[in-house]
């Protein structure tokens, strides 16, 4: 006689529904997506190149050698630093008017730009998430907070960032905060809409009935539903932040010129653009490539994570 259904081992028939395995499967699906692979791959490559910059044919990004000024890209040459040492150096991207190697500056600049991009994304996500959670859950403060966000969105982001940097000075902290603040309203809106939807779910109602403290409800029931769209939005914020930082530095109102950010390199190369366009064009290509990679990654994540998100609702 076959075992009755009550004694058969049916655990293998049901998919594993633990939280950990759902996350693992989401990750696996994400990694199968073409856009995620390309965007994430290029981004990873850029990050690795930025980390290993000292070993990739670079010299001190701030070392000047006026004698090697305005070298064209792809030319071998010599570099004499201020200590008097002379050595051979292959100018992959040429040099600027002061003889600084553009390739070195670009690669070291990648460190700053990518770090700022990630820092801005984390700051905007955290603050936006807090605001969105509170506004969505507590009806009393909802309309006031959303009005505040509307007002903030009415001020063009770059103008806001420029003024903040002009007022508070051009340090890394100020620039990160100045770029992050205009991004907060969009994140807050996103989280708030998730909260508004989830708030009406039966399990939330049940949790309230069980006297669960509010912070636990927000953290354990509502927040996990917002994670996917937050991650997607975070990549877009990162891309925008890298762009805005470059624009700020290019206009002269970003990070101090001692730091070799892409915007600064291009800003200093402006004067020679007519004769030596490589000063501006080559770091610009790097900038565009990085932002493109992050955007493609974001698109891929959105395609894989968001349908999952909407399927969970449906």
């Amino acid at each position: 006689m076959a075992d009755s259904i009550m004694t058969q081992d049916t655990s293998a028939a049901l998919p594993d529904a633990s939280a950990a395995s759902i996350k693992r499967r989401a990750l696996a699906t994400a990694l199968r997506n073409g856009s995620v692979r390309i965007g994430g791959g290029v981004l990873l490559l850029l990050i690795i190149m930025a980390i290993f910059a000292p070993w990739l044919g670079t010299i001190d990004p701030n070392a000047i050698d006026p004698a090697s000024g305005n070298m064209l890209p792809l030319t071998p040459g010599q570099f004499t630093n201020l200590a008097g040492d002379t050595f051979d150096h292959y100018f992959l991207m040429g040099s600027d008017s002061l003889g600084r190697d553009i390739w070195s500056r670009t690669l070291y600049g990648a460190r700053i730009s990518i770090t700022i991009g990630i820092a801005v994304a984390l700051l905007a996500l955290t603050l936006g998430m807090l605001i969105g959670l509170l506004a969505g859950y507590f009806r009393a403060i909802d309309s006031l907070v959303m009005r505040l966000m509307d007002g903030l969105m009415a001020i063009p982001g770059i103008l806001f960032a420029i003024s903040l940097v002009a007022l508070f000075g051009g340090t890394v902290t100020t620039v990160v905060i100045a770029i992050a603040i205009p991004e907060i309203p969009r994140v807050a809106r996103l989280v708030r809409s998730v909260v508004l939807t989830i708030r009406e779910e039966p399990y939330v109602e049940a949790a309230i009935a069980l006297d669960t403290p509010i912070w636990k409800i927000l953290l354990k029931h509502i927040l996990p539903n917002a994670v996917a769209p937050l991650i997607v939005q975070g990549t877009y914020v990162c891309a925008a932040a890298i762009l805005v930082e470059a624009i700020l530095s290019f206009l002269g109102v970003g990070l101090p010129t001692e730091m070799a950010t892409w915007g600064n390199i291009m800003s200093e190369g402006r004067a020679q653009f007519n004769e030596f366009p490589h000063n501006v064009l080559l770091p610009g290509v790097f900038l565009a490539l990085t932002v493109l990679a992050v955007n493609i990654l974001g698109d891929g994540l959105r395609d894989t994570l968001d349908p999952k998100f909407s399927k969970q609702q449906g």
């Binding site: 001020i155 007022l167 624009i247 064009l281």
Partner: protein, 313 residues
């Protein structure tokens, strides 16, 4: 009808108040004395005291705010500290190049993006669709100033077809005016085209799945007419919405593009104001642009009444 207009216009007031509050507190919250910041390093204690008195910084904050808003409502945006000219006068001097650039960019962007989006939605999933989506991501990623320099390098330096930089006033002739504006408009419009094309494609694609499209086709209406009169028309609301929202991108982009192409407009004025820390001017310009943005979005909202008769406020 009038009630809609009034209600919608009144709804902009809280937003404008918040903008005024943010701009007001930005200067007051900066480290140090705002008067000292305005006077700069070369000022003496007397200068600082003078500025404090002239800006009314010695009064209580609420009084300052009310007085400042009172001046704003009367159209007084303050006076530039360095140029000693009212901000409104400075803005009116520099506004023509910016409006020319913005208007041309808008026209180019919509004229290019909407047809592209409609075509992509028509051939949903085809090569045009995918090419458009790829181009759209590219458009978001290449910064306007990089593209601007690439265009200058190609068209002005290499092929010498167009002027490198500068601006020609419209009254001095249409051809010079447009020759100076072509490259900046293209550079500035790319991100706008990417945004609008994306939304157009999504909105029209969704509209094409509706039942009324099937009805229209079964009535024997030509595909082109179905696409435009029934598909695009029903997608108009999200498209116009994104055009309005994109104005914020346009304003930010104008600042950079004018710097690259040396166009003497409001964007350059902003950069000059910031570099010289001319706070009254910075405040005035931010307020001006924010009001423009709110106003344009008001127009967008009001246009819904025309575009979608089902919408009632």
């Amino acid at each position: 009808m009038l009630a809609f207009f009034l209600r919608r216009i009144l709804a902009t007031v809280p937003v404008l108040v918040i903008v005024a509050l943010i701009v007001f507190f930005m200067l007051r919250l900066a480290p140090g004395d705002p008067a000292a910041a305005i006077v700069g390093n070369s000022g003496t204690a007397d200068d600082i005291a003078l500025v404090r008195a002239s800006l009314g910084l010695n009064d209580a904050l609420p009084i300052q705010f009310v007085r400042w808003v009172g001046e704003l409502v009367q159209g007084n945006l303050g006076e530039s500290f360095f140029m000693k000219i009212p901000v409104t006068e400075l803005i009116s001097q520099r506004i023509e190049p910016t409006i020319s650039l913005a208007a041309l960019t808008l026209v180019v962007a919509v004229a290019v993006a909407v047809p592209l989006g409609v075509l992509a939605a028509w051939r949903h999933g085809g090569w045009l669709d995918r090419a458009l989506m790829g181009f759209s991501v590219l458009g978001f990623s290449i910064p306007a100033f990089v593209l601007g320099y690439v265009l200058i390098w190609l068209f002005s330096l290499h092929w010498q077809l167009l002027p490198v930089q500068g601006y020609a006033r419209f009254e001095n002739g249409f051809i010079p005016w447009i020759r100076h504006l072509i490259l900046p408009s293209i550079a500035l419009s790319i991100i706008y085209v990417a945004l609008i094309a994306r939304v157009t494609r999504a909105a029209v694609a969704e509209a094409m799945t509706e039942d009324y499209i099937r009805t229209a086709r079964s009535k024997g209406i030509s595909e082109a007419r179905v696409l435009i009169r029934h598909g695009l028309a029903n997608a108009a609301v999200p498209i116009v919405t994104v055009i309005g929202i994109g104005v914020a991108l346009l304003i930010g982009g104008v600042v950079v593009t004018e710097t690259v192409f040396a166009i003497p407009g409001l964007g350059q004025l902003t950069v000059e104001a910031v570099l010289s820390r001319d706070f009254p001017l910075i405040q005035g310009i931010i307020l001006f642009f924010s009001v423009i943005y709110v106003f344009i979005n008001l127009l967008v909202d009001l246009s819904y009444l025309v575009l979608d008769p089902r919408i009632r406020y």
